[in-house]
Amino acid sequence: MAAVQETIERVRGIDVDQYRYGFETLIESDKAPKGLSEETVKFISEKKNEPAWMLQWRLEAYRRWLTMQEPTWARVDYPKIDFQDLYYYAAPKPKKTVTSLDEIDPEILKTYEKLGIPLREVAMLEGVEPKVGEEDPARRKIAVDAVFDSVSVATTFKAELKKAGVIFMPISEAIREHPELVQKYLGSVVPTSDNFYATLNSAVFSDGSFVYVPPGVRCPMELSTYFRINERNTGQFERTLIIADKGAYVSYLEGCTAPQRDENQLHAAVVELVAHDDAEIKYSTVQNWYPGNSEGKGGIYNFVTKRGDCRGNNSKISWTQVETGSAITWKYPSCILRGDNSRGEFYSIAISNGFQQVDSGTKMIHLGKNTSSRIISKGIAAGKSQNTYRGLVTAHRKATGARNFTACDSLLIGDKCGAHTVPYIEAKNSSATFEHEATTSKISEDVLFYCIQRGLSQEEAVGLVVNGFVKDVLQQLPMEFAVEAQKLISISLEGSVG
């Protein structure tokens, strides 16, 4: 009895404000005027020294956006966003042009240090050699393109990537330096008219990463971008574009943490992936944005459009995500399986605690012949959170031999949370084979007691059981992320048992 009582007290005592990564960096910043108008769009474009075609593209998106409605079909509930009450651009004021890490504001570097991000490549490079397709992923190098608020402040490993012919730079730079590539691919997977948030992003996107891997090149290192939202009331609108040309391979890691806030922060990113013939793109995310406080106040609104296009034959795109943060998550990393024999994968761990609301899943759109896809989704709901898997698997009339396997497992911790599974399955070709499995279970008190009797604390026990539950997905992450993700999962569930 005593133990149960203590648990209840502990749950009551949870203060999500203890959010581990909740700190704010004091840096002067350069803001766009509040609100959204053609002037705001022009301001952003000007700040970035963009060519005229880019401004036109943005303005067209903006005009389109004015005609669109915010979607309401997701199982999330939040107060109406006043889009005129937000800032759409903020950049740390540059004192001068930055040419090396030493010149970057030490405050910013300190922030990264707290987050444990290996910005300084020196330590990373000590005795570490990259090998193509090597077995020990912990020894692989990671290149970091750090996005601080909206401006990329440092890009490392550039020289080595250049040697391999890989282009990895902030998209704002790519627009100036590789306009032919950007014009060819930007908006080709997620068109400017795609959906309310993607269209908004197209109009006001601030920065993000651009990756181009030339034909036959296997990118010599994991590419990684860390996003931080640090300016009060600033919506952040990243735009990422990754292209793997014929026979190329790239693995991209994205990780996020943000400082705590009272007001909600809007985040509407767009990520586009293009895989040509025989190319492979692996995109991994660990997301840990501020989820709001113990009353459900504050926290990030995360409305993301992520889509990959398996444009070529035998191409492959794999999404892996660990979602633990944000007050609202609205995110469906998808694959268009256009090329014959192309393959799409979606591995997801979505954890919600406190008052978090997650509506996430994937779309696998089978268009080519003999395409296959695999969906493994693990949802964990604790506290008073709501966790929804929403997915679409569809086979086009001509998608002969399409195959899909889907497994959605939900784990409930406590009795005030909810888990929901909403799968849509459409086969317009009679040769399609679609399999769907789903389970929902509650974390068992008996299992927890068994662990505790062996000496684990309540929280260690929950962490162990949950890590076991998500193991299939964790295994898909690159080693560096898997370790981080495992820790994050335990932190996210602290005090969740009751």
Partner: protein, 252 residues
């Protein structure tokens, strides 16, 4: 000398139903006590109350473990202080390799005792040695804990955990249930290997059979939540012949 475990007048209930009804029991270091009794006598409840399973309410009495108030400790603290319960039905943890579980448990206990944690290779070395003694296939250590294990494998795994964690007091709850005679012998050998002058054991069982292999120093009969008779190992044989009926009447 302080007794290893001293239970005085222990009363406990679950969902308002009284199960333990003034139970007295003293276990000294080096002793093996068998507790026998009919179904519903409170055998499993005793093991759960000692290990601190939530849901049981203590309504009277006290329990001293090495002179300390056991009932005031959290369940994980009891484990770290050396109380081990071998479960009648060991639980499955999908996705958690047996070895990972063993390492996590051992290091959690060591941390709580202020000892240094052991490295993964050190744990592996110890576990491998112990597994060999228990006839456990090293492949089993990679499998998720108890998932798809046979009854024998589960109980051997419990014994392996017990051997690794080196508890002061082992409580074996119906360890013989679900075991064929060969499996029983292996598990009993493992338990006997853990007999030590500084360790006590409580072996809870319904049948005398187990006690042919794990020979107790003292045998108690538990009925209606109290110890109603205490004797030497011959008491077990006597019970096998006469059954529990007389004690049930006595307790009533």
């Amino acid at each position: 000398m302080t007794a290893l475990l001293e239970i005085r007048g222990l009363k406990a209930e679950i969902d308002g139903r009284q199960i333990l009804n003034g139970l007295d029991l003293t276990v000294n270091k080096g002793e093996i006590h068998a507790i026998m009794g009919p179904n519903g006598a409170g055998k499993s409840t005793l093991s759960y109350v000692l290990s601190g399973k939530p849901g049981y309410e203590i309504t009277g009495g006290e329990v001293l473990f090495n002179g300390e108030d056991l009932l005031a400790m959290d369940p994980d603290e009891r484990a770290a202080k050396g109380l081990f319960l071998a479960f009648q039905y060991p639980l499955e943890i999908p996705g958690v390799a047996t070895l990972t579980f063993l390492r996590t448990a051992l290091n959690a206990q060591r941390r709580k005792r202020g000892e240094e944690e052991l490295s993964s290779p050190d744990v592996l070395k110890r576990v491998r040695e112990l597994a060999k003694q228990l006839n456990i296939d090293p492949e089993m250590l990679k499998r998720p804990l108890n998932v798809g294990f046979s009854g024998g494998e589960k109980k051997r795994n419990e014994t392996l955990q017990m051997a690794l964690l080196e508890p002061k007091l082992c409580v074996l709850d119906e360890t013989d249930s679900g075991l064929d005679i060969d499996a029983l012998r292996i598990v009993a050998d493992g338990v006997n290997r853990l007999r030590a002058s500084d360790r006590g054991m409580i072996v809870i069982t319904h049948y005398q059979r187990l006690l042919d292999y794990i020979v107790p120093d003292v045998v108690h009969v538990l009925s209606a939540g109290r110890i109603v008779k205490t004797g030497g190992k011959e008491l077990a044989l006597e019970l096998e012949a006469t059954g529990y009926a007389q004690y049930q009447n006595e307790a009533a």
